[in-house]
């Protein structure tokens, strides 16, 4: 077999940060090749170099042994490689159809909008994306956007496709559909580079795997030759045990409760109560309303009916500060949207909720902020130059940890986390789930919303939602199959 894509001795620096230090990768023609590594290992940086968005400081990229085209020649790059980037490249003000065919709305001359919508519908149908082609992309949910991006990358017909964490925001069935699609592409001889922090996915669809650590290439091997724990060890540089969910006995006090909550079009008639020392999961397939419900609990949304009580205080609907004052900490669904202020430092982002405790008379003591931030950086293992680095410069997973730090910094008695481990590496995931469990052991009650069954294992019980209603309260000890069946509405 031939090497289809190769990067040699690539060095890429961003100011004082070296994102890639002589990294290399070689991908055989027709294989699905995984690239794994911890957050900040340089994976996305390599992607931007392999797709011609950034010039490596040193090193070269070869396609089928030929040097890569000039950076300015975008068309040549696009013939060689299509990509779903980790950062969204959807343009919110344009329709889905136009996003799908951006800069290729027509071959030449006029755009025929009707035909374009037709072509878009075809693409969406082919990849089973149930989205209106005429809708504005900005009105889509996060995962709908992700699906549109995937459909767009696949629709190019390029012989080489890069998928940078495509599944971080997808639920089970959507991931399955994506894999079906990828398998059929492989049968057609398409080469794929696949980046994910879900290592089981690597085993499911990839033939070989490259591991990066600390901006360097560590190993490349057929997946069959690399058992799970060795893979993790290669990524982390040390042996790491599988995460073990802890068991505990929930207390008696109800710290968070919602009565008769309803929001038109999203969910209705929800009663939920979370005790101290308890983790309650919220599961459901897409559009089940679980995120909407969680966002109502924290005050990001105002419910049409019902009340939310935190630690005995009735919280004014839609009032985040009031909820936080009552003892809430939370991780929102979309870190870019609601999670952090990109230009501000790690330290500042992590300490906003406790700003009033960092000094008297409305003052913030920079040294106390630094101390607190450094503690959070340590406990969550955030890879950063220090508390003063802007969050915008962090890798995706590390930015997520900053959001987590913000949720935990005030020692919340109620914790609501939505898809908390999206885009977070194996080890960090353990740290984050551990952090939730730590908080709960300290007496907090937690709500965990997730599409990932693994995350839900730490829950004492899982509320499964379907079409806006809680259909079942599943206690610990479920199997994947059972839970999925309930989520799909196949069992009542």
């Amino acid at each position: 077999m031939n090497v289809h894509v190769e990067a040699r001795d690539v060095v890429k620096r961003f100011g004082p940060t070296t994102a890639l230090a002589g990294a290399r990768i070689a991908i055989e023609e027709g294989e699905t090749h995984a690239l794994v590594g911890r957050n900040g290992a340089g994976k996305s940086t390599l992607v931007s170099i392999l797709t011609g968005l950034q010039r490596p400081d040193e090193g070269e990229v070869l396609f089928s042994g030929q040097p890569a085209p000039a950076l300015a020649d975008r068309d040549a790059w696009r013939r060689r490689v299509a990509c779903v980037y980790q950062k969204s490249t959807i343009i919110p003000a344009l329709t889905v159809a136009e996003n799908l065919f951006l800069n290729r709305q027509s071959d030449k001359g006029l755009i025929n909008w009707r035909a374009l919508a037709g072509r878009a519908r075809e693409v969406l149908d082919t990849y089973e994306v149930d989205v209106d082609a005429q809708a504005l992309a900005g009105d889509l949910s996060v995962e709908q956007r992700q699906l549109v991006e995937i459909a767009r990358a696949l629709s190019f017909g390029a012989r080489f496709i890069i998928l940078d964490e495509p599944t971080a925001r997808l639920d089970g069935p959507a991931i399955e559909r994506l894999f079906t699609r990828m398998r059929s592409l492989r049968e057609q001889g398409v080469t794929v580079m696949y980046i994910s922090h879900h290592l089981d996915e690597v085993y499911e669809i990839c033939q070989s795997v490259t591991v990066f650590r600390d901006a360097r290439h560590v190993t490349t091997r057929p997946v069959a030759d690399l058992p799970h724990d060795e893979l993790v060890a290669a990524m982390t540089g040390e042996a790491t045990a599988v995460y073990e969910a802890r068991s505990r006995t929930p207390g008696e006090t109800v710290v968070l409760s919602g009565e008769n909550l309803g929001l038109a079009g999203r969910y209705s008639g929800i009663d939920i109560s979370v005790r101290s020392g308890e983790v309650v999961g919220l599961a459901g397939s897409a559009s089940s309303g679980k995120v909407g419900l969680a966002e109502t609990l924290v005050g990001l949304r105002r419910a049409d009916t019902g009340t939310v009580t935190i630690n005995g205080t009735k919280v004014r609907p839609g009032d985040v500060p009031a909820a936080m004052k009552a003892g809430l900490g939370f991780v929102p669904e979309d870190r870019h949207h609601e999670g952090f202020v990109p230009l501000l430092s790690v330290g500042e982002n992590a300490t906003f909720p406790i700003a009033r405790k960092l000094g008297r008379y409305g003052l913030i003591s920079p040294s106390r902020r630094r101390d607190t931030a450094e503690r959070m950086i340590g406990s969550l293992d955030i890879k950063t130059e220090g508390p003063d680095q802007p969050v915008a410069d962090l890798s995706g997973g590390n930015a997520q940890k900053v959001v987590f730090a913000r949720a935990l910094v005030d020692d919340p008695t109620v914790l609501v986390v939505i898809n908390p481990t999206a885009g977070v590496d194996v080890k960090a995931k353990q740290a984050l789930l551990g952090a939730v469990e730590d908080a709960v052991e300290r007496g907090a009650g937690a709500v965990l919303v997730s599409d990932e069954l693994d995350d839900l294992r730490i829950c004492d019980r899982v509320l499964v939602m379907f079409h806006g209603r809680v259909v079942k309260d599943v206690p610990r000890g479920w199997t994947d199959h059972e839970l999925v069946a309930v989520m799909e509405g196949m069992e009542e």
């Binding site: 797709t51 490249t89 344009l94 951006l102 006029l110 149930d130 209106d132 069935p173």
Partner: protein, 329 residues
Amino acid sequence: MTTLTAPAPRVRLARFRDLTLVPVIVILLVVGAVLDPTFLTAGNLTNVLQQQAAISLLVLAEAMILIAGKFDLSLESTVGTAPAIAVMLVVPVAAGGFGIGLPGALVIPLALLIGAAIGAFNGFLIIRFQLSAFIVTLAMLIIVHGFLQGPSEGKTLFQLPDSILYLGSALWLGLPAAIWIAGALFAAGIFGLGYLRLGRSLYAIGGNVDAARAAGIRVDRVLYGVFILGGTLAALAGILETGRLGAIGNNQGVGWIFMVFAAAVIGGVSMDGGKGTILGALTGVLVIGLVQNILTLIGVSGFWQPVIYGAIILIALMISRIAGGKAQD
């Protein structure tokens, strides 16, 4: 997968989002007709269109630049300077020229070229040096106006070649040529930004420049083009205004830029880029023109006129906000 609400109404709403000012225009027409009998005559409405023709070209230019996510304040200075320098290159020293004496027929191409050059220089500073568009074009607003004031020493140029007067003063099929020209250019703009790949790329660039680059759009080249086109349109606006007024004063175009932004923004063009349409910008121009005309006709006291004028803009803004249903930015 997801349950979607019926897609049809959403689409229709999006289409009409350009037209949120139409109710405002209707109200203005009715109010104007009630307040003054002259208002709804063909003659008066033609006057309104002719008066707005030149400034509307600036709105067209600014709308494109804003949609592409940039900013150009210097357009207003180009309105005076481009035709003035072109004229000075052509007329003799006695008429205020440089004494170079290029042929009079060249004056329009020269003016357009000067406009394009100003646009290109703006583009160069902003794109090449990655400077803030606001402040670069603010400095250029001052500099370009200085290039009118300096050579003319503050004097009005009134001995102009006939060629530069023609477009702004001729009648074609009974209507001022300026109206035809502005109409044609707006049609081209609506069409170009609606149906051409190049036009659509402005939305992509303004909406998410990284995504646009990733999609293979030659961002820098397109932005250069937009600035150059903007400068050229401003020069053309200057030519039309010169023909309408019959001379080039030192203040030609000065103070227009605020109204240009007002027209574009109440017409739905976002200051943040990527949003708005040329048709919407056109409705913005019409609203401003009608308001000014009505205030003139009813002869509000000059002292209080600004208050009424500003208040009407605010009300138009609210109506279009309510009709459009979305927060503005």
